[in-house]
Amino acid sequence: MKSMSNKHEYKVVLGVIGSDCHAVGNKILASVLGQAGIDVINLGVMVSQDEFIDAAIETGADAILVSSIYGHGEIDCHGLRGRCFERGLDDVLLYVGGNLVIGKSDFQDIETLFLKMGFDRVCSPRVDLHDLVKWLKDDIIEQRFAREPLTKSA
């Protein structure tokens, strides 16, 4: 079990999925998350599903943050949750954000679509990064409690 006294309590893998090379948001996310005390393994742009998973396994990350701006998100993210299970990553948090589908759609529809695909949080391109930091920390803590054996609680 991961020790809670690690210097960095929160560890996330960050990257832009598929053949997407939009680097601006990625650089800003890495900077903001880092400043919020989150340990960021930033894979940069053009990251495959397996590269995300490899990095998460290697570093014992709490969450994988997937960005997609160029519109192929629906194709590129397809099957990511299943692939995590296959690779033995049973309880990693999956976040996704950006311009996730082709064309202008209602965000609620996009959120529903990606939640069904197994993502834990779906962020619009206009998400407040301070909210994102808060969700991430809360979700990670909650995930850890869920993993703790009952006898250890209280």
């Binding site: 053949s19 090379c21 800003i28 192929h72 194709i75 064309g103």
Partner: protein
């Protein structure tokens, strides 16, 4: 045959034998390549009516001092692409076909999957038109359905097969370049490889030129589209122009992406053209046709469509007042990704209104424009003279060394070959200045000018310039501002 990536790259016309051998290999990389026959492609191009020839339409506009309108548009399936461009055609002067991101990385297998899934879904799941997969006949069907010239717009580091297919199919303009389609568009493609692959594309265009077919070539000016100071992109434009001229290209459109400060944007287009003439003629080239293209704001847009029209119209105004030959038009859907036809049409209409109202007015020519023009020219000359020195006269090798050493450095670019130290920020007027010069060899007095202008902003905001200020600037236009002031 893949060119050897360790040999020295020279800025020299590719020998016929080298080109022919390489072409055989290029055409074999995907089955649709087999349909390309250069002679037949030349005949097809020669038969195109003048109104479908990009170079002729650009020349007429340039002679008349008009600014042409062009949208971006590309979907997965052929019939849908024909319908989309047919619908957009009445609202613009020249047409695009935007290529999807899988093709840009030569993943034609993934394209095949994307096309199949789009057919199943009954809508395009791809962000562009996979021209290589649709092949020569598919591309010709598209060209023949339209009445205006069509350009290939993409972001492909190795665009050799795409060029062979689309040019033989009757596309008459080809966007891109070995620097501008690598550093902002790829992560780990060697600059040496992309420049070499674009020498091939330029040589192909040169060969068409020698057969009497003038294909327009357009280096991609906006680069990362994120606070890129004019001198940074101008250096790339001049270098790609020189590389193209050497391969026999005769029709070049140099590009620039809107920064947002009107005076600086006007100065940018003026200096771009003047610097192009200066460097191209100094290198001994003549008889080429030069024009400019202005890209409306390439960074983040506001969600609200009415606010987005404000951004679009400022770009239209800048393009017209700067005297750009062509403007690339954004849409009110920009904040949410790939637009619908209707949104695309509405961006064109708003731009048309602005261009019509401003096109016949006198161009601003005040001292402030002159100062910015002079500043950009001095910056470009300082960087390029270092690039030439690094390459000992060979600009291909000089460019590679300039990126390795950070002499050339593009803000927010994903490529590993890019230093990513140079950091821009807006000044108190919203003009783009250099906050961290990285290793770019700007003269001391120019740097002092940048520093003073940034200090003015810092004082008026009561905070020190920092990366936070840069982030605020990146987000400012989405938040209905130009300068990222603290709230």
């Amino acid at each position: 045959m893949h060119p050897d990536s360790t040999e020295t790259l020279v800025n020299q016309r590719l020998a016929d034998k080298v080109f022919e051998t390489e072409r055989n290999a290029v055409l074999n990389t995907w089955p649709t390549g087999a349909d390309v026959n250069f002679r037949e492609g030349v005949r097809y191009q020669l038969d195109l009516p003048v109104e479908k020839q990009f170079s002729a339409v650009m020349k007429a506009a340039d002679d008349a001092g008009r600014t042409l309108l062009q949208p971006r548009a590309g979907v997965a399936l052929l019939q849908e692409q024909i319908a989309l461009l047919t619908d957009l055609q009445p609202y613009c002067d020249v047409l695009p076909t935007t290529i999807d991101a899988y093709t840009r990385h030569n993943r034609y297998d993934k394209c095949a999957n994307g096309i199949a899934r789009s057919r199943e879904a009954g809508r395009s799941l791809m962000n562009g038109f996979p021209a290589v997969n649709h092949g020569l006949q598919g591309c010709r069907e598209l060209v023949e359905a339209l009445d205006k010239p069509v350009q290939v717009r993409h972001g492909t580091p190795d665009a050799r097969l795409l060029a062979e297919i689309t040019l033989a199919a009757g596309f008459t303009s080809y966007e891109g370049g070995g620097i501008s389609y690598n550093i902002p568009y790829a992560k780990s493609v060697k600059l040496r490889d992309s420049i070499r692959h674009w020498q091939y594309c330029d040589r192909l265009v040169g060969r068409y030129e020698e057969e009497g077919v003038r294909i327009n070539r357009e280096p991609f000016g906006p680069l990362t589209g994120t606070l890129v100071p004019p001198f940074v992109s101008h250096c790339v434009m001049i270098l790609e122009g020189l590389l193209a001229l050497e391969q026999g290209v005769k029709c070049i459109t140099l590009g620039y992406g809107q920064g947002g400060n009107l005076v600086q944007d006007i100065a940018a287009i003026r200096s771009l053209r003047e610097l192009g003439e200066e460097y191209f003629s100094a290198a001994g080239y003549s008889g080429y046709q030069l024009s400019t293209v202005f890209h409306q704001w390439m960074g983040g847009f506001p969600d609200e469509e009415s606010s987005a029209y404000g951004v679009i119209c400022l770009g239209a105004a800048a393009a017209s007042l700067a005297g750009a030959t062509k403007v690339i038009v954004k849409t009110p859907h920009e904040a949410s990704g790939v637009p619908t036809m209707a949104a695309n049409r509405d961006g064109l209409r708003a731009t048309r209104q602005m261009i019509n109202m401003l096109g016949e007015q006198q161009k601003p020519a005040g001292d402030d424009v002159a100062l910015e023009t002079d500043m950009i020219k001095r910056e470009v000359r300082a960087v390029l003279s270092r690039v030439f020195a690094l390459g000992e006269g060979n600009i291909a090798e000089g460019t590679i060394r300039a990126f390795e050493s950070g002499v050339m450095d593009i803000p927010f670019a994903p490529a590993r070959a890019n230093a990513g130290v140079l950091m821009p920020v807006r000044d108190d007027n919203g003009a783009l200045r250099v906050l961290d010069k990285g290793n770019s060899p700007l003269p001391d007095d120019v740097l002092a000018f940048h520093r003073d202008r940034i200090a003015e902003r810092a004082a008026s905001e009561g905070r020190e310039p920092s990366f936070q200020m840069v982030i605020d600037d990146v987000n400012a236009i989405s938040n209905s501002r130009l300068i990222g002031r603290p709230l």
